[in-house]
């Protein structure tokens, strides 16, 4: 293979920056749509497969154990127990939040598994397992069918839940 004399002494191209942009229109799905409509009415609605099924919040369309669609809506409490959490101290693109902040797993009363939520109005180093929290919503006028309508969860003022009451979710 010969050498291209015209290119001699020219800095080789080592990388190519190729911006790419793709736009996607996501479909929430029936279950998520039902859930988000409930959110816009300040209700937290879980779903389950039949009366004996486990209550999933937020519902994602199926009971994953059964592989069948959830069929019934169940309103769960706006209060719950922190079953675990972490303190996020890492900035990343698209985050939109100041660090450090607490991300918690919150078992709402009536739900069968915890959901993830932002925990605020408490110093981050005082957040603990068993903390009782309640949803803090945006103003009524700003309610929309998005999880961002729940601004965060804040301490409800109740005594901590005993470990036994949420132990199986830890």
């Amino acid at each position: 293979m010969g050498r291209i004399t015209a290119l001699e002494g020219i800095e080789p191209v080592r990388s190519v920056k190729t911006p790419a942009r793709l736009e996607y229109n996501f479909t929430a799905g029936l279950a998520t749509s039902r859930f988000l409509k409930g959110i816009s009415r300040k209700k937290i609605l879980g779903e389950r497969c039949g009366a004996e099924g486990k209550v999933y919040v937020p519902p994602r369309g199926s009971d994953p154990v059964l592989g069948r669609p959830t069929t019934e809506q169940v309103e769960v409490s706006q209060r719950g127990t922190v079953t675990s959490f972490c303190v996020v101290n890492l900035q990343f693109y698209g985050q939109g939040m100041e660090v450090p902040y607490v991300c918690g797993l919150i078992l709402l009363d009536g739900a069968d598994l915890p959901l993830m939520g932002l925990i605020q109005e408490i110093p981050y180093d005082q957040v603990r397992m068993g903390l009782r929290v309640e949803a803090r919503w945006v103003d009524d006028a700003a309610l929309k069918p998005t999880l961002a309508s729940i601004r965060y969860f804040k301490p409800s003022g109740e005594a901590d839940a005993p470990y036994e009451s949420y132990r199986e979710h830890v």
């Binding site: 790419a20 736009e23 229109n25 369309g61 592989g67």
Partner: protein, 351 residues
């Protein structure tokens, strides 16, 4: 080689845009149906394998969410390919050959509607030299069509006739998206999308899902009165560089067809994954199919083209014809990548 057969097949009713349902909700009824048809539950399935693409879903790890539709509890033996479900079926067939399990569930799906499919598919290219030019899937297929015309191997009328025949046959297929066609002369009056391809020569954009159950030996006979036995299956890939290929031929299809044993007997039906009308002739020649073979009685991908599932559907459709006694020996083909870069061929037989 262990005798493995298709014993059940289900697919969704393919549409341009599935309103309101996400991928899990689209897939669940298909999984329910493919198992219910033969009275098998997930816990009796030995291996599950699926095919899908993150870039179509617009989400990383997108296949994880659809696992929620399977009922994967207690934990299952499961794997996934970022390819058309036909290759997931191949992986499942290999697993069955080992002899430790007797049944497998294969599924694949996509919604092309969230993104702009032609733009999304530009990302499926050499990122240094080709993708920055943003050549879309239709333009690349048009390059191939042009090569056929220049070589005298096809005419634009051929493309129109193939489109007309496929979509007319699709009228009998309750799952097809496009059913029925105007006549060939009428089609030829349409403007080009990208010359020499007119709209009719291009596949529709579809949301859809499909699933197959495979079973081996006696398990197959217990689950189906007339299993569609896989007598041969093989797949091959060609170079990615378009300039280094003769786009009028499909050597990978030819090799795969030879290895799968297409020529060992008379073929009644062929389901060919030719998303563009111009590609059907290439595949027909590569497989050595005679004029007596019925091609794409389902209507093929020109009637419904759910990405990642269209190849699996070819296998399912061919298998169903055998299971219904409408054919004794069939070929099913699946493709991946632009301009038929990678191809899988499966030969199916009834007893």
């Amino acid at each position: 080689m262990r005798d493995v057969a298709v014993v059940s097949f289900a697919q969704s009713k393919h549409v341009r845009r599935l309103p309101g349902l996400n991928e899990v909700e689209m897939l669940m009824p298909v999984l329910g149906e493919v198992r219910d048809k033969i009275g098998i539950t997930q816990d009796r399935i030995g291996f599950t394998c699926s095919g899908s693409s993150d870039y179509l879903a617009g989400q990383a790890f997108s296949f994880v969410m659809t696992l929620d539709g399977v009922g994967a509890w207690p934990p299952i033996v499961e794997s996934h390919v970022e390819m058309d479900g036909a290759w997931a079926l191949y992986e499942a067939w290999v697993k069955l050959q080992i002899g430790e399990i007797d049944t497998a569930l294969v599924y694949s799906y996509s919604k092309s509607s969230p993104g702009e499919l032609r733009d999304v598919l530009t990302r499926q290219l050499d990122p240094y030299y080709v993708a920055p030019l943003w050549p879309d899937s239709v333009s690349l297929a048009a390059l191939q069509a042009r090569a056929l015309l220049d070589a005298g191997l096809a005419t634009e009328r051929d493309f129109a006739e193939i489109a007309r025949r496929n979509r007319t046959d699709a009228s009998a297929n309750p799952h097809a998206q496009l059913k029925g066609s105007r006549d060939t002369n009428d089609l030829l009056n349409d403007p080009y999308i990208v010359a020499p391809l007119r709209r009719h020569a291009c596949p529709p954009i579809s949301d859809g899902a499909a699933a197959v159950v495979l079973a081996a030996g006696d398990a197959a006979r217990a689950l189906s009165e007339r299993p569609a036995w896989i007598r041969g299956i093989d797949h091959r890939i060609e170079t990615h560089a378009f300039g280094a290929r003769n786009l009028t031929e499909s050597p990978s299809t030819r090799i795969a067809g030879d290895r799968a044993g297409v020529a060992r007997g008379k073929i009644d039906v062929a389901e060919l994954h030719a998303p563009f009308a111009s590609q059907e002739g290439i595949l027909k020649r590569a497989l050595g199919l005679s004029e007596t073979v019925a091609i794409n009685p389902s209507g093929g991908p020109l009637a419904a083209n759910p990405m990642m599932a269209a190849g699996l559907i070819r296998i399912g459709e061919a298998a169903e014809r055998i299971r219904r006694g409408e054919a004794d020996r069939a070929v099913a083909h699946a493709t991946s990548g632009h301009c038929l870069q990678q191809n899988l061929v499966c030969v199916l037989e009834g007893d």
